[in-house]
Symmetry: C2
Subunit: 290 residues, 2 copies
């Protein structure tokens, strides 16, 4: 039902898929099942853009109400939890949680040492759900989606840099261009992760084709693959700063192109935040201003 609602509101299978961290194929199949289960077509296939049938209109209205009610439950239950005032529950993807987030948290805990912080590492798709359903107060993530029921606060632009094995030939070059990646052995994020999709897009647009040798969903695994010479990779700068300093990796920027990924904070829109959450958000806002 949530998928159907998003499908109608975005007017596009692919966008609805993106909002729910699914493939377009999944959305297409879901709609098919839905129509079978309801027993009548919900969408007019004839025309160019999506058009609801009369049955679809009824279903859409109901779906909207039901989804909203559904997502509200756990949130409301969480709100009645004891000692919830001192709790800050953050959902984060791994690469952000262990590096960027730690900086903010350290500051925050110095100021508010009484707050109990819980960080949950999840896939991007779960994070959205956790926040909508009140299992987490907020999330810091890369490529945050824009949903009507979630507030997205842009936080920073995280630089993406080229990570090379220590003695890689490219490391000796004066200026590195994006095109130099062509034909290189490449260690990539898993297909389906937002960062991977964005990078694929950029490389395809630039008609640069590295040879993707391995794919991992974990930044640590990527780093160790690079440092053991399996190939090069493009990773968030913060995740390799320490390794560059220690000399276990060679880190370079591209001369012709600045790569970055947007970081943002995700919060429920209909929020009744506790003090801890408000304080943390305020600090983030301050950090952003600087």
């Amino acid at each position: 039902m949530r998928i159907f609602r998003d499908l109608i509101e975005t007017g596009s299978f692919s966008k609805a898929a993106e909002l729910n961290y699914l493939t377009q194929s999944a959305v297409s199949q879901q709609l098919k099942h839905l129509e079978k289960s309801v027993g009548r077509p919900l969408l007019d296939r004839g025309s160019r853009q999506l058009k609801l049938t009369s049955a679809g209109r009824i279903f859409y209205r109901a779906a909207k109400r039901i989804v909203a009610a559904y997502e509200d439950i756990t949130a409301r239950i969480q709100a009645t939890a004891p000692e919830s005032d001192q709790r800050l529950r953050i959902a984060a993807i791994y690469s952000v949680g262990t590096y960027v987030l730690q900086r903010y948290l350290k500051d925050f805990l110095r100021r508010c040492p009484e707050v109990k912080v819980e960080v949950d590492y999840q896939k991007a798709s779960r994070i959205c759900d956790d926040i909508l359903r009140g299992r987490a107060d907020l999330s810091i993530m890369a490529y945050p989606v824009h949903r009507r029921d979630l507030q997205t606060i842009p936080l920073a632009d995280e630089e993406l840099v080229l990570a090379l094995p220590k003695l890689h030939p490219l490391g000796r070059r004066e200026a590195l261009n994006l095109a130099d990646l062509a034909g290189q052995d490449f260690i990539a994020f898993d297909r389906g992760t937002p960062t991977r999709k964005a990078l694929d897009h950029i490389l395809r647009a630039a008609k640069v084709r590295p040879k993707v040798r391995m794919e991992f969903d974990n930044i640590e695994t990527i780093k160790s693959a690079v440092s053991s010479g399996m190939g090069v990779s493009i990773v968030p700068e913060a995740t390799v700063a320490a390794d560059a300093k220690a000399g276990s990796l060679c880190v370079r920027r591209f001369a012709d192109r600045r790569l970055s990924r947007p970081l943002g904070v995700l919060v429920r829109k209909s929020r009744r935040e506790n003090r801890a959450v408000r304080a943390f958000l305020k600090q983030l806002d301050g950090a952003r201003a600087r």
Copy 2:
């Protein structure tokens, strides 16, 4: 959510399971998952009878509303279907649909030839769902459940008889008692079908243990297994009346015990029936009076 609602309203895992045509185990697991997904316990396990926690109370209220809304959608959509006034959609289990139902339908169609009748054969569990969600107008089934959101109209008691292969020794006996089944090769309904459960209950209470050789969910398969001498079975009388006459099976009643199963009609309680449905229900009511 429906399971949880039923669980609370019946106050029993097993009863909630029965209402949804599941095993008690499934209900137990569902609750566990639900509590995990909500993040807090919903039920007080300490005490004897079920008691909601404070989180459980909130969840129950919401679940009730959401389930009701959910089940209402398809029903409302169906109501707007064109030419729905001339349609009578019946969901039936196989053994009732092909025998008992045919009789009623023949009469009905003679009187209302303009009505388009659609009969869908389903498992009992799907039937309930079909009616709740308006994919079927009514159902005739054995052992109809009693749900608050469904109306159950008792229709008849269908005699259950012993079906024997043509030359089976038991067929020559004067009077047959239930106890004579002890040790006999038995062809049974599938575990999980209501009729099977009822028969198991009766046999266990009488401490009679036939040897269950085969289990089928289809009455036709059971009949052909019996007629080819694989064993004996207990089946609805109507399903073997023709075979008894043709001599392909031997049909006997028990001298010491009348076995039967209740047939009933299931209709949505909040019904806005069309003319066809009303007419059919009226005829059934008449048949019952006779």
